[in-house]
Symmetry: C2
Subunit: 142 residues, 2 copies
Amino acid sequence: MSQDEILMIDEGLEILDEEECHRLVSDHGIGRVGVTIGALPAIFPVNYTTIGGDVVFRTGEGTKLRAALEHAVVAFEVDHIDPVYHQGWSVQIIGMADEIDPEWGERLAVTPWAPGHRHHVIRIRPEMITGRRIRRDHHHQD
Amino acid sequence: MSQDEILMIDEGLEILDEEECHRLVSDHGIGRVGVTIGALPAIFPVNYTTIGGDVVFRTGEGTKLRAALEHAVVAFEVDHIDPVYHQGWSVQIIGMADEIDPEWGERLAVTPWAPGHRHHVIRIRPEMITGRRIRRDHHHQD
């Protein structure tokens, strides 16, 4: 990404353009899904892949996560953070989650991490994708 | 944690006890806050520390995150995932977020990553803490 594609905001974070956001998400494989369960927010790490800009991952039978994902608008966040240098990036997707044909999961090789029968495949279609790059704060170097 | 402290659940995930969850959170420094902004879920990575079991981090002036955190019940998730071996753990906290005296931030050395004036210190008091260990699915080795 060239410098002129970066818009600086007052917090000192670089806003990433949509193309860069999609590239970062498609190059990554671990993300976090944010849902609302019983009026409370909840976050779950998932192993995902992308197809045509959609995020696809598998989940188990009867889980709270699966129920919360059914036709719900969810958040999906992917980041890469360097704990030593305090730098990194974070991309956030907002979109509708839906269960799709489990065969897609096999074809996309979305391997679930946990054992058990995880035949349910969830797709999130991004309605909004935003990202920011976090850089070291030179006033607070340690 | 000894084996007899582990309760297996049907998804093949090990449920971690509360003590183990607190230990994992206090040993880590990067987490993700889940909030609701304008009826939509959102996830933000933060650099945090803990004090007496509470999660403390700094945020900027006038951000959407700060507004969403004001006396709100939020999710806070910390995980460690091995992308090669598909193993890891995830701990989730549900609790009330409140702004506290900014001096605490200085004393606790909660360094913000992004530049700018980040004098607002947020504390999440855990009302619920749960965790699980994710192990490799031997039926889906790649």
